[in-house]
């Protein structure tokens, strides 16, 4: 393989190499330093005069005298069953002291888009044991459901609780967890690792760690390595894979960094104009394929800068993912765990995974009614602050009390409290029964007669 020593310019993570033979777009590049160490990069722009290489590691030590080798192929990831239980760097190298991965296959990390025609529609209910998810923002297998959080909120604890408790009712299947950390602190990473070890989940997990002090540009490939691994486990080996990506905000920062180094025209807040397409190439790698056994369910976690949901990162994410779970600082301050605010949260695939066939016939309508009543009670809080509780009508007072009850009995639960969906729905009915029956306009009479505690008991008496 030819080695070029024609680096002309180094700017940020980019190298500009001159006078090369024709080089393919997207090729993997090895850069050889004077001490013999090797760094990796990828071709971003290629012409017969100039090749632009994006280096995945720090450019420290690279000079005009460094050698550049073009490998002639795009970046590939060696994958194999024995990756389960291993800890790899953000660039895919083992860092747990174990041997190199013996590849069963080498796969392109960009991955190809799943043909929409080949996709199977996700409809299997996943019970996470958390009422605010199961009851009102139901997760289904093959969904991508991000957690929108803020600095200092317990999103990691929630993610771990989900990873620990998630199950499909009545099924015993091969599952795996792929965990990709991008720019999180060692401490946060340890928190995940210890929980994985404690619960034995590590045996079934593949961990990719790009920590806060690892090169930022490496974060560009970390989620792609993780998802390539997940695709292999899911679609080749038939496992049900849960992918946790944290923190996507750090990924987007790295994307912006490269955009700036390339002197591209920036979009909103300096993020590149192609950030939507780029994020889609990550998030869309979730789902089910007709005729294949496995599945990929994604849990990206992102911290919203300034808790601002309209910031480009949560905004573009929300347009691609199938809903979002929003962690609220207000609830957290009230000491409620998990502080999930159901109002801005949403699961777009919820309706596919609930109802008589999957959970219970009243699920959809109970959920709608809970939402509507909580939203109304929550609005009244603003009013009470101005006019006082006494100025409220009887009806409004019941809704106000409902909002408090909802937060304390439905939202609040323990770190390891694993509620069944039936338990969750029954709590919902108990809360709804504090409202006058005629206010339950979202639920039809038959269901009220069957499930409402007041009538349910009457029926039993008869």
């Amino acid at each position: 393989m030819k080695e070029y020593r024609t680096i002309n310019k180094i700017a940020g993570p980019l190298l500009f190499v001159e006078r090369t033979e024709p080089i393919g777009y997207g090729e993997l590049v090895n850069i050889i330093l004077f001490d013999g160490s090797v760094k990796r990069g990828q071709v971003l722009d290629t012409s017969d005069e100039l090749v632009v290489v994006q280096v995945f590691e720090s450019t420290a030590g690279i000079g005009r005298d460094s050698g550049v080798r073009f490998t002639g192929e795009t970046i590939k990831m060696p994958v194999g069953r024995e990756m389960l239980g291993r800890i790899l760097s953000g660039g895919g190298k083992p860092i747990d002291g174990g041997p190199e991965i013996l590849p069963e296959k080498r796969l392109d990390i960009t991955g190809a888009a799943i043909n929409p025609y080949a996709r199977a529609s996700p409809n299997e209910f996943i019970q996470t044991g958390i009422s605010t998810i199961d009851g009102t923002n139901t997760l289904v297998r093959g969904q991508k459901l991000p957690i929108f959080s803020g600095a200092g909120l317990p999103h990691n604890t929630i993610a771990l609780q989900i990873a620990r408790q998630a199950k499909v009712l009545g099924a015993k299947e091969e599952f795996a967890v792929v965990f990709a950390a991008m720019g999180i602190t060692k401490e946060e990473a340890n928190y995940f690792m210890q929980d994985f070890e404690r619960t034995g989940a590590l045996e079934r997990a593949v961990v990719f760690l790009n920590l806060a002090d690892d090169p930022a540009v490496e974060r560009i490939i970390t989620p792609r390595l993780a998802l390539t691994t997940a695709e292999y486990l899911a679609f080749d080996l038939g496992m049900h894979v849960l992918v946790i990506l944290t923190d996507m905000t750090n990924y987007c920062e790295a994307l912006r960094q490269i955009g700036a180094a390339r002197e591209e025209v920036p979009g909103r807040r300096g993020y590149p104009g192609y950030m939507y397409t780029d994020l889609a190439s990550i998030y869309e790698r979730a789902g089910l394929i007709k005729g294949r056994k496995g599945s990929i369910t994604q849990f990206p976690i992102l911290t919203m800068p300034g808790d601002d949901i309209t910031h480009p990162i949560p905004d573009l994410t929300g347009y691609i993912t199938e809903g979002q779970i929003v962690v609220s600082r207000d609830l957290h301050r009230k000491g409620i765990y998990p502080p999930i605010n159901v109002l801005p949260s949403l699961s777009r695939l919820m309706n596919l995974g609930i109802g008589a066939k999957h959970t219970r016939e009243d699920h959809k309508k109970v959920s709608d009614q809970l939402y509507a009543a909580y939203a109304e009670g929550n609005d009244l809080r603003g009013l009470v602050a101005i006019v006082g509780k006494d100025a409220l009508s009887e009806r409004d007072r019941t809704f106000l009390e409902f909002a408090d009850l909802f937060e304390n009995r439905f939202v609040r639960q323990g770190y390891s409290e694993d509620r069944t969906i039936f338990n969750t729905l029954d709590i919902g009915w108990d809360l709804l029964s504090t409202l006058p029956v005629e206010q339950l306009v979202r639920i039809d009479r038959d269901l009220i007669n069957k499930y409402h505690p007041k009538f349910r008991n009457e029926q039993k008496k008869e």
């Binding site: 971003l44 309209t310 509507a372 039809d444």
Partner: protein, 588 residues
């Protein structure tokens, strides 16, 4: 209109000079703007978007990884065109009209590159029935025969640009789309299939003013903010406000004869949902699966960005083709923001001078060109057809002041403003009744008068007034509580609540409520009006508002939505309300 089919000879080969993502540069290529070219050894499909001296700049519809400078580029001399003919219906295409089902057969579950697939099956035979005979005069756009494609009859037409002539031979029978079915006396031969360049609107005789509403079965749309057949509408909304559900409801229930649904840069799982659901849903008019009248275009967010740019044109060209047969077509584009972003991405790779927020300066022009392809028209063959365009817009951060929303609003006549606040309280469809508008109200006035009831237009304005009034009153209520309002206005608040909860809220997932006929809409609104009249009368008679609001029978009204044969129940509620109010008045 001249289609560039004539110079289909392959011209001299050029060579790749530079590759930067989906945009590549070739030299020594004899090319014209928007020619389709084959790029590299794998012959990836691309389109010429800029010519600069000897450099030809090409956007490539497939992934360019691994392509090197020096690889060959050849020009097909054709514009990006779609194949039009029997076989379009029930198909699902990517942005450049490659059938996704064929792609699965050819390259498996993932989209690989370098595979071409014709838009129509060239092998399948269709039973062609001539509608003209030897000696008949025909011209561009003339209907010469028909094919029973699904439950829809596919009219076979001469291409719009065909010169007039008279029919020499035409014979019924089983043909593929490529076989000649008609020969004119000057020797020209026509197969059933025609090709049309996607970036050129198909010609029509004249454009007419729309006067008939597109009935969608959605109360807030048909009742308050109707779109006309041949009209344009925009649905802007932040994520999670129900854009896609609204689009899908329109695709399912609108009374168009043909539906073209473009999933432009959207979610893969959503397209799958459409694909699995539509074949099982019945067209409320024909009872046949909805899929039989539908063409789907799915270029999901992770499929190549250049093909996403093309997908909108592919869709509208197919819609125009069915319009030319005399059908009412509705086209849903979800989402035009992703299309605009694709333009932005390509434009920035061309290093063009950016306009607002990095979008190219020609964004407004492209959007208006696209929406202008909608319309109610007199076709070349003298029939009436229409294309209604409903475009979703995904404004970043829900901010309607951004360029795509603003430029869209300048063109479209109907604006359905989605509101995240409404969807958070599960008010669906979460269309804000204060911000939305329809500029078709006047032109559709007569239709509602005649087809629904002479009272309807009045009822509609009354409902809007109440809602507007409520918004003003709410501001006061926020400050002092509802008890402080004058008694008549406390009644208004309750009436407005009923309009919102009974009429405006509609459950897309309920088997009955998902589609609400115009008749039922009218009956429901009339019942609310009846309550309002009784309530105001009682208030004047001195009944306190707390007693008026406690009237039990009105609480049954929301249940009407879920009852198919609602008439008896509604009549009973009417009687009960009457009785209850009578009792209140006599007690007062």
């Amino acid at each position: 209109m001249e289609v560039k089919d004539k110079k289909s000879k392959e011209t001299k080969q050029g060579m790749l000079k530079r590759i930067a993502g989906p945009v590549v540069t070739a030299v020594n290529l004899d090319a014209h703007m928007y020619d389709v070219v084959k790029v590299g050894r794998e012959e990836l499909m691309g389109e010429v978007i800029k010519i600069q001296g000897d450099n030809t700049i090409i956007q490539v519809y497939e992934d360019t990884s691994g392509i090197r400078p020096g690889e060959p580029v050849s020009n097909t001399g054709l514009s990006l065109a779609v194949e039009l003919g029997p076989g379009l219906l029930t198909s699902i295409y990517d942005g450049i009209q490659r059938p996704l089902s064929v792609l699965v057969d050819k390259m498996g579950d993932f989209i690989q590159r370098g595979v071409s697939a014709p838009g129509l099956s060239h092998e399948k035979k269709w039973a062609f029935k001539p509608l003209v005979k030897t000696g008949d005069k025909v011209q561009g756009g003339s209907i010469i025969g028909e094919v029973q494609e699904t439950n829809i009859v596919h009219k076979v037409m001469l291409p719009p640009n065909a010169k007039p002539g008279s029919v020499k031979t035409i014979k019924g029978g089983e043909y593929t789309v490529e076989e000649t079915v008609c020969i004119l006396d000057d020797g020209r031969e026509f197969p059933m299939m025609q090709r049309w360049p996607v970036r050129v609107p198909r010609p029509v005789k004249e454009k007419l003013n729309p006067i008939i509403p597109l009935i969608t079965g959605q109360r807030i749309l048909d009742g308050l903010f109707p779109i006309a057949k041949g009209g344009t509408a925009a649905i802007p909304g932040p994520f999670g406000s129900g854009k896609t559900v609204t689009q899908q409801q329109l695709a399912k229930w609108s009374d168009a004869e043909i539906v073209v649904y473009i999933g432009c840069g959207e979610r893969g799982n959503e397209m799958t949902e459409v694909l699995t659901e539509f074949p099982h849903l019945e067209d409320p008019k024909t009872g046949k699966p909805l899929m039989e009248r539908t063409v789907l275009i799915a270029n999901t967010s992770n499929m190549p960005v250049a093909a996403r740019e093309a997908s909108v044109y592919t869709g509208i060209t197919i819609a125009e083709y069915f319009r030319d047969m005399g059908y009412d077509v509705s086209l849903m584009a979800d989402s035009t923001s992703r299309w605009a972003e694709a333009m932005r991405e390509i434009s920035s790779r061309l290093e063009e001078m950016p306009g607002e927020e990095g979008y190219p300066a020609y964004l407004a022009a492209r959007l208006s060109e696209f929406y202008e392809r909608a319309g109610l028209v007199k076709t070349l063959n003298g029939g009436d057809g229409s294309v209604s365009v409903i475009g979703a817009v995904s404004p970043p951060g829900g901010d309607f002041s951004e360029p795509v929303t603003q430029n869209t609003l300048r063109i479209v006549k109907v604006f359905w403003a989605l509101d995240a606040k409404l969807s958070q309280r599960r008010h669906f469809p979460s269309i804000n009744w204060l911000n939305s508008y329809s500029l078709y109200l006047d032109s559709l006035h007569d239709w509602y008068d005649k087809e629904v009831s002479p009272e309807w237009n009045k009822l509609r304005s009354w409902a809007m007034e109440v809602l507007q009034k409520e918004a003003e009153l709410q501001e006061i209520v926020q400050l002092v509580g509802s008890d402080a309002l004058p008694e008549a206005e406390q009644v208004t608040i309750e009436v407005a609540r009923m309009i919102r909860e009974v009429f405006l809220q509609q459950n897309a997932y309920d088997a009955v409520d998902t589609f609400c006929s115009m008749k039922k809409q009218y009956d429901m609104m009339k019942a609310i009006r009846m309550y309002a009249d009784l309530a105001y009368a009682a208030q004047v008679a001195g009944v306190p508002p707390t007693q008026i609001n406690a009237v039990k029978s009105k609480n049954e009204l929301p249940q009407i939505k879920f009852i198919k044969d609602y008439k008896p129940a509604l009549d009973k509620i009417g009687k009960d309300m009457d009785a209850e109010f009578n009792a209140l008045r006599s007690a007062a």
